[in-house]
């Protein structure tokens, strides 16, 4: 707790490692035109701006289809954004050719959700973890093997596993292999897309704790994408909440969890059943009605107005901007919970 707070206050952390401005990723629908006025495209990521500070963990949460995975991939240029800017260490990534991006990729690695499909079943563990070292020409021969064994050790696996195949491992062990591969080229940024959601709860704890240890030891910055609000709280310094392609709230983790400003964040938290029957009984749940709207035809105004208990006329007409409520806590809402609405300009 105190550690996390001290980290937030330290000035070195304010230096952004990555800066994202008005990022869009639209997928054209068959028959529609990408150039038409936002018609005929799935607007998976729609005008997202935020900064990732050095050494922090930013948790990105939202329901399926909200665009969080697309955002993660667009940041790393695994999907090329439709427009907007992504600066990594001051370098504009969206303008770089694939060739020029390659040396930068060493510094930005990814951990995937499914440890069963993200490891090549035909390659030995040593080969899988060593691949980024070979690709970036960082090591070869005995030095490469030494470094791979060092990574195996770092993620809590025996060096004996070097010559084994992925199918010989359990889900938790495979996820450790995936983490070792991401660590191999010694990146400063790791984007983890639902890294523990395919794992059993007793194994989840192991991986979450391992990631926390690695961050401390190796000075890593994490973007942690997940739908499990408990896991995200456990790992994150800050939280960003997405809804239908937009960030609707972003701020320090404890502030977002204890004093959410956006009604969507509040409903999301209220919907999580907690493992304490009496406390669970005592909580106000008021489950949200209806489903998430389609990102190919988002509602006008605030995208949450179709499900929001506080929505009125203005919410149907005007899209609320992301407003600063102090302490780095921002939300985009016309009826902020427990706060006075601020003028829109």
């Amino acid at each position: 707790m105190t550690d996390a707070l001290a980290k937030l206050d330290s000035p070195a952390l304010d230096e952004p490692l990555m800066e994202v401005q008005s990022l869009n990723k639209h997928f054209p629908l068959p028959g529609g035109s990408l150039f038409g006025k936002n018609k005929g495209a799935v607007r998976a990521v729609d005008g997202v701006s935020f900064a990732l500070r050095k050494g922090e963990t930013l948790g990105l949460v939202g329901e399926s289809g909200c665009g969080k995975s697309t955002l993660a991939r667009s940041l790393l240029q695994l999907l090329r954004p439709s427009s907007g800017s992504v600066k990594f260490r001051g370098v504009e990534l969206t303008e770089l050719s694939s060739k020029k991006l390659r040396p930068l990729r060493r510094d930005m690695q990814m951990i995937f959700q499914d440890p069963y499909t993200s490891l090549n079943p035909r390659k030995r563990v040593g080969h899988i973890i060593g691949e980024p070292l070979r690709i970036h020409g960082l090591a070869e021969g005995a030095e490469l093997e030494r470094r791979v064994r060092e990574k195996l050790d770092q993620v809590g696996l025996s060096g004996d596993y070097y010559g084994r195949y992925p199918h010989e491992f359990s889900g938790g062990q495979r996820q450790r292999i995936g983490i070792a591969r991401a660590l191999a080229p010694e990146p400063s940024l790791i984007v983890a897309d639902e890294p523990v959601s395919a794992l059993d709860v007793s194994i989840q704890g192991q991986i979450v704790n391992l990631m926390a240890d690695l961050q401390r030891d190796l000075d890593l910055t994490y973007l942690f994408v997940a739908h499990d609000l408990g896991v995200v709280r456990q790992v994150s310094d800050r939280i960003a909440v997405m809804y239908v392609g937009k960030i609707v709230e972003i701020g320090p983790a404890e502030s977002v969890y204890t004093n959410p400003i956006h009604p969507y964040t509040a409903s999301l938290l209220a919907a999580v059943p907690i493992p304490d029957p009496r406390a669970n009984e005592a909580r106000e749940r008021n489950p949200l009605e209806g489903d998430v709207p389609s990102p190919s035809d988002p509602p006008p105004g605030c995208r949450f107005h179709t499900r929001c208990p506080f929505a009125d006329e203005i919410c149907e007409q005007e899209e609320p901007p992301l407003v600063d409520y102090g302490n780095g806590h921002f939300a985009a809402c016309h009826h902020p919970l427990g706060r006075t609405p601020r003028g829109t300009g």
């Binding site: 707790m1 550690d3 996390a4 329901e63 399926s64 359990s170 938790g172 062990q173 059993d200 709860v201 007793s202 194994i203 989840q204 704890g205 192991q206 979450v208 704790n209 926390a212 739908h227 499990d228 609000l229 408990g230 896991v231 709280r233 456990q234 983790a253 404890e254 969890y257 409903s267 999301l268 938290l269 209220a270 919907a271 999580v272 059943p273 907690i274 493992p275 304490d276 029957p277 406390a279 669970n280 749940r285 489950p287 949200l288 009605e289 489903d291 998430v292």
Partner: protein, 343 residues
Amino acid sequence: MSEPLLSVRDLEVSFRTEGGLLQAVDGVSFDLKRGETLSIVGESGCGKSVTAMTLMGLTGGPNARFSGSVKLDGQELLGADDEVMRSIRGDRMSMVFQNPMTSLNPVHRIGNQIVEQIRAHRDVSKKEAMARAVELLDAVGVPDAAQRARSYPHEFSGGMRQRAMIAMALSLEPEILIADEPTTALDVTIQAQILELLKQLNRDFGLTVILITHDLGVVADIADRVAVMYAGRLVETGTLDEIFYDPRHPYSWGLLGSVPRIEGERLARLAQIDGQPPALIDPPPGCRFRERCPHAFGKCGEEPELLSRGETPGHLDRCWLDISERPALRQLPSGLIGLAKPS
């Protein structure tokens, strides 16, 4: 005491595999009372789904072996012939699965799928069956039910599909609904809607529910009684309050401790259970949890029975630890319950 609606005794299910005999369910016994909600919790491979599917007679096959007894209102179901099981399935006991997309037929309209099920068991006209289907869809909260009955599964969202599955499962007014991870594939706001629906069906129609899940939050929200499974065995059963506030088995402590919380003080470190579950082919003798249990001692090489070891007769566990020492052993420095090395 009234007779239990469903009584399971010493249920064993094993499968012949290339690697040897896999003991998926190993001596599971429990009773289910009319109108109660029993939750079976455990991790992947612990045998919770195999147990549920065996109750429904869905695990048969040339490589499956069964023993023990499953009695519904006194009638033995284990080993009953297909005809008997067909009259029970859907009619008296029905099941909802995790993934509603793969459990619905993609090329038939939702309403027709429900009609087909009703007409397979009841002698009613298509029109009557369709009226019933619409009524059911409406009851489970599908808006514009008459209209939506004409939709295909792909036109439904995940939550609506799960509602349609529940409507179908209820179409013959079964006494028992078995729900196997019914909300795991759904988003949390949709999960809350489905759990609310199950609670309402239980409250308003006295539906008896077996809910299988790995999520202790879901259990806390919906269950009356809880059965905790580990590596094919029941390790603890009790009421909801007994399991959450006085858990007896170290595996239950570990499960409770490893759930990341959304409220209260954030923990410096998430409690974890080291290691992984044993293989179910030739598992080691004795307590199956002992290799991961920091409290294990010499006696754990022998298999403990599932017994009431405290003063509450319905609260059973499978652990050799001294009952009076357990409250201290399960207490973490944070004040929460969890599995930690004794200091």
